[in-house]
């Protein structure tokens, strides 16, 4: 009896200990959370995805999130699989927004969402299967080769018939981006540190539902507190909202905070230029450099237009030491003088 009671006590003690210890250890640290890393470097990622092994496997990419990124590209190209031409991965945050607008204008959607109900109407009424030819990317090879380059004969013909395929010499057939929105959700759940998923995804989501886009980007900031590009993306989205009315000063304050934080974080992460051009150093790309340039510029412009012009001049002088070729900053500095 006594033995049984002892065993029971030990069992209960072990269960309690386990219940307490699991969160202690699990929440202590996550080895997947670290700054930098080759797999997250946009330039290295793009290089790998264009390498012979990626071309050899066609669908293969360096991570699940990359594979899902490919899915989003397929959706935009009416399901046709083109060889890797992932310019989107190498766009600056500002360019991403322009690219999304450009794409939607092509397919006949050149407006932004204003509220949730609007986005629903928009979504159901006319979005789904609008397509439009885009001549800019014509000539990009398809994964399934055209007839004159395909040695497989009948099999190749069958392949082209059963899979979405389009002659690579013809203009790309672009479709509306509504259907790719869930992929951004899935790719960031799979890899919460996939910064591009948050930045590009937020631009797309913002077209349909701004609140949802801001929640999405908030999550991105929580998961990647040091990713200055996500803060920039939020700054740009809020800036667009502010520009419509130019009255919500609280919103403007948030925009200024986002660009201030983005500039501060970016400057802290930028490699030391004394070892060569920062964009040529590991872990820093030309697009990060461009983003940082834009963040600094936006911060100064916002300060000049909606804040203290003297402070804007000081900031311009400070940022000109980092980007001496920035004519906008130089212009602001001299104009104020």
């Amino acid at each position: 009896m006594n033995n049984h009671a002892n065993k029971l006590a030990i069992t209960i003690l072990l269960i309690v200990l386990t219940v307490v210890l699991i969160p202690v250890f699990a929440l202590r640290m996550d080895p997947r959370e670290y700054e930098g890393g080759r797999s997250r470097d946009a330039v290295a990622r793009s290089r790998r995805n264009a390498s012979s092994i990626a071309v050899l496997f066609g669908e293969l990419r360096t991570s699940m999130s990359d594979m899902m990124f490919i899915k989003t590209e397929r959706y935009l190209h009416s399901g046709v699989a083109y060889r890797p031409h992932h310019d989107e991965q190498l766009l600056s945050v500002e360019e991403m927004g322009e690219e999304v607008d450009h794409h939607q204008a092509e397919v006949g959607h050149d407006h932004h969402a204003h509220d949730h109900s609007h986005s629903h109407d928009h979504h159901h009424a006319d979005d789904h299967h609008h397509t439009h030819e885009h001549h800019g990317h014509a000539g990009t090879p398809t994964l399934i080769p055209p007839r004159d380059e395909d040695y497989r004969g009948f099999i190749g013909r069958l392949h082209r018939r059963v899979k979405p395929w389009r002659d690579p010499d013809k203009a790309h057939l672009h479709t509306d981006g509504t259907e790719l929105l869930p992929w951004f959700r899935v790719m960031t759940v799979t890899d919460p540190h996939y910064v591009m998923g948050y930045t590009l995804g937020s631009w797309w989501i913002a077209r349909y539902d701004r609140d949802m886009a801001l929640n999405f980007i908030e999550e991105g900031i929580r998961n990647n507190p040091n990713a200055f590009q996500i803060r920039m993306a939020r700054g740009f989205i809020l800036w667009r909202i502010f520009r419509e009315e130019l009255t919500d000063m609280e919103l403007l304050g948030q925009v200024k905070t986002d660009f201030r934080d983005a500039a501060r974080l970016g400057i802290a992460q930028r490699p030391d230029p004394q070892y060569g051009p920062p964009e040529e150093q590991p872990g820093w790309s030309l697009f990060q450099e461009q983003d940082l340039w834009s963040a600094c510029q936006m911060r100064v412009i916002l300060e000049r237009e909606f804040g203290d012009p003297e402070r804007a001049r000081m900031l311009a002088a400070e940022y000109l030491q980092i980007f001496p070729d920035n004519e906008v900053l130089a212009g602001i500095l001299h104009a104020e003088e």
Binding site: F25, A26, R38
Partner: protein, 256 residues
């Protein structure tokens, strides 16, 4: 007087039968064929030429992931069929007719299966690591840490598969192990959003990604600090203890 067989004898007996099962089943050979395909791919890449160090790192990451995935999958199938198959084929009864404690039987099966998985992982990892050219810098200490945590991960997964196979039908046990192995991290991520209490509760979801340092290693990140490594070892050990305890409890109370 204790008439039970000595633990060492029990473990050797069970270990031998698990080993025979491992080499007689096709699962191991599927893993070896996957490895062979990978090696052919690496061989072709070496002839064609690896166009950038980043691609070399990608191949190394892919190989190490393949080794990890093969060993874990092999282990799920091997562990989940230990008790259900023996009960179906009635081969468990002659074993239980011997003077063996039920809890020892569970422990012996778990250790033997885990050892099989660890051996397969070690073999695959060694072959992958030797065959792929290292074109960028990696931290040797992190490789050791990664191996250590993988061993814990394999011990944990086999205990989970055995425990699940004693509570649920074999197919469901395999499915649950697969879900937690491949999707535990994403599940945690989904649940832990927004509220601290959800973050706390999500820590109870088995997340094998916590013990996988492969990408960290190929990303060229520094080795873990000793206290972080200890925390991860602690996480693995507690999870293993949970499932081993659950398996022993389930088998002791099982009506055969």
């Amino acid at each position: 007087m204790d008439t039970m067989l000595p633990r060492k004898t029990t473990f050797l007996l069970i270990g031998k039968s698990v080993w025979l099962e491992l080499i007689r089943r096709q699962d191991l050979y599927v893993c070896l064929m996957m490895l062979l395909l990978f090696l052919i791919g690496v061989f072709v890449m070496r002839i064609v030429g690896i166009d950038s160090p980043a691609t070399g790192t990608f191949i190394l990451n892919m190989g190490m992931m393949l080794a990890s995935m093969c060993a874990h999958l092999l282990l799920i199938f091997l562990a989940a069929r230990q008790f259900p198959s023996e009960m179906e084929n009635r081969t468990l009864y002659p074993l239980l007719a011997r003077p063996i404690r039920r809890s020892d039987l569970v422990l012996a099966k778990w250790l033997a299966v885990s050892l099989g998985g660890i051996l397969v992982y070690t073999l695959l990892l060694t072959v992958v690591w030797i065959s792929v050219p290292k074109l960028e810098t990696y931290h040797a200490a992190l490789l050791f840490q990664s191996y250590l945590l993988h061993v814990l991960s394999l011990l944990w997964l086999s205990s989970m598969a055995i425990a699940f196979s004693l509570f649920f039908p074999r197919g469901l046990a395999v499915l649950l192990c697969g879900i937690f192995f491949f999707g535990g991290g994403s599940l945690r991520q989904l649940i832990s959003r927004d509220l601290p209490i959800r973050r706390l509760l999500s820590s109870y979801i088995p997340d094998f990604g916590m013990l996988n340092l492969t990408t960290r290693y190929t990303d060229g990140i520094d080795a873990l600090a000793a206290h972080d490594l200890l925390a991860l070892v602690g996480y693995g050990v507690v999870m293993i203890a949970c499932f081993v305890f659950a398996a022993r409890y389930a088998f002791r109370g099982k009506r055969l």
